[in-house]
Symmetry: C2
Subunit: 349 residues, 2 copies
DNA sequence: TCAGCTTCTCGAAACGTTTCGATCGCTAAG
DNA sequence: CTTAGCGATCGAAACGTTTCGAGAAGCTGA
């Protein structure tokens, strides 16, 4: 009871190996009649080509590598995880599988992902901030690369990026529109292009409005604990903000914890808005306003672009900016208006 | 500038293909001197065997399949995702890659995962509740299988399970210990073995304590929205609970939203505890007590067991029950004691 | 009529490994 | 002194595809 091979199909259909192969791959010239007969045998035998054999002969693996730093991977905040899931989902449509691997975080030595050594991937997705050395190293294996949520200035790589500037504009304009005037920025890890862009966006709108900047970017990471410290920093200066735009939701969460601990009321005394729109936003009390980032969508686009690069052999560099969306929840409600019962289950997605 | 093959290593070292292969796979009899020489050439050339060729010749893929229903996959609650990440992490230690695929949820027709058709995996991990037909179908491909967080009564499969009963005992005993007396159970999807066991555990402790059962299991799913309805149901009966044990955190979250909306104070009027200990618990207000499930650990164990089965060719059925842990937060604080400022950043992990 | 396409099919050569005997010299057991 | 067994190495045969080049047959236009 062995599995049928392409030989069996050839023998039973009366055609040669090569012709069967052409039919299976839907390539070259094959008469309709021949195709029909061969497919009939394929169906009857339940034949399906074997990946390894196909890979060996055609020098393709049918896999795509996904590289993530250990930091991002182990982070509780499921941001990159969502992007990864998006790639997983989309890759099915192109008959690829995703091989995930983590690499030591920025600064450490480079460890070559095994899937590159084994020629086990046809292209690579790199998500988040990684060392440039690593990117160049991956490149040296001659596979197409696409970056997600990261950019390299010196050299142009295809990338899928968040429209951070637009998002920051939305957030800050929203805070201004609700009547706030002293608007702070809760930042950290300012080296990350995404964070830097959010800060720029903030600055642009603040400048335009004639208000004063109120910025904290001393923290080196953008986790919840850093948000706590950053908010503390911001709160104990001369000017107290009546609204804060956080570089991401994790920081906003930490910031909210600090404010609650101080007995500051949200949104009555201070409005708060984050960035990313992670799931947690909805269950917080008050629910956290945020800039929605379509994380799964970013993963999907990355796969589409990468498959383009793999199949078309094109070397064109394509940068895609994925739009964002303002999601208003109770944490940034206008001061005057009744906010509604806190903790009410939000109807928005 | 081609990559070196095993041929190159053989030629340059002066030994045969077979001997080089033996050295690379660390198998069979090779003298220390020969090994040294060959490894020297391997190092010098930067040789690394190609997966496809190896796979073809040895009939192994070096991959492990991970099957998840679409429901579980797209669920916001990152429970199975964490298990998946655990498998990802552990698989590196065994030089395997994980291929994730989703299947239509229970009830639909069976769609054979492509990695099985292509002989692209050496074993399969199935997570969560799936149809028995699917399991049998996967089995028919002759690869080892391990279930995670699911059991089949009729037939014994190796499985990695949560110690749900013990968890339920911990939760309910904890509620009793804090002075609560009318303890409710917020359930749903009672067909799921894990949920059923949590209910059983609840019942056992309640019976032992001489109190009365107060159970809602009408809901068919265990999402947040169902928790909202189930709590509503429980709340509007004759006896009002002063503590509730929810079948999982998602339901507890929904329940909490309902209670807040009613103006019920937590934990003063009612204590609440969930199950799973998802990340969200910590940022809720009040932070939600829960039974911690070591999700990544479950994934790791699954990989270890599966690799055992793949390499040792053993057919022994091994069931592992992963212990759980009680995590007390403000939502289940005793009535008398001062709870501390709400929303205070919890120091526990 | 003939050269030059196009359509269709096939044989054979890769692709880069593992694995299965076979051989050979040496040592230990009988 | 045999003989069995082990350590070390090798040649050759898989493993199951894709791909390349060639050839036959039919059609088209000059």
């Amino acid at each position: 009871m062995k599995r049928p091979t392409i030989d069996d199909v050839a023998r039973q259909s009366g055609f040669s190996l090569s012709t069967v192969s052409l039919v299976i791959n839907d390539r070259g010239y094959v008469s309709a009649e021949t195709r029909r007969k061969i497919l009939e045998v394929v169906g009857r035998l339940g034949y399906h080509p074997t990946r390894s054999a196909r890979g060996l002969a055609s020098r393709t693996s049918g896999n795509v590598g996904f590289i993530l730093t250990e930091d991002h991977f182990s982070q509780a905040e499921p941001f990159y995880t969502r992007i990864f899931l998006g790639t997983e989902f989309e890759s099915r449509n192109f008959h690829y599988y995703i091989l995930l691997t983590t690499v030591p975080s920025v600064g450490s030595h480079i460890e070559t992902p095994r899937f590159l050594l084994e020629r086990h991937v046809d292209g690579v997705i790199i998500a988040g901030k990684v060392s440039h050395k690593l990117i160049e190293h991956v490149e040296s294996f001659g596979v197409p690369i696409i970056l997600v949520d990261y950019e390299v200035k010196r050299r142009r790589y295809s990338a899928v990026l968040i429209d951070n500037r637009a998002g920051a504009h939305l957030a800050v304009r929203h805070l201004l529109a609700t009547g706030r005037s002293a608007i702070g920025f809760l930042g950290g890890d300012i080296d990350h292009p995404s964070i830097a862009e959010r800060l720029e966006g903030y600055r642009e709108v603040i400048a335009e409005s004639g208000k004063e900047e109120l910025i904290s970017t001393a923290e080196t990471e953008t986790r919840s604990a850093n948000g706590f410290s950053a908010m503390q920093d911001l709160w104990n200066r001369g000017v107290r903000p009546d609204a804060v735009f956080a570089a991401n939701d994790a920081m906003a969460i930490g910031g909210m914890q600090f404010l609650k601990q101080q007995g500051v009321r949200i949104p009555e005394d201070i409005a708060l808005i984050g960035f990313d729109d992670i799931d947690t936003c909805r269950v917080m009390d008050p629910p956290l306003s945020s800039i929605r980032v379509f994380k799964e969508e970013m993963g999907r686009i990355a796969v589409q672009r990468l498959v383009d690069m793999i199949t078309a052999k094109t070397t064109t560099v394509v940068t895609t900016h994925v739009p964002v969306e303002l999601v208003v929840r109770a944490s940034s409600a206008p001061i005057e208006v009744d906010v509604g019962a806190p903790g009410q289950p939000s109807l928005q997605a």
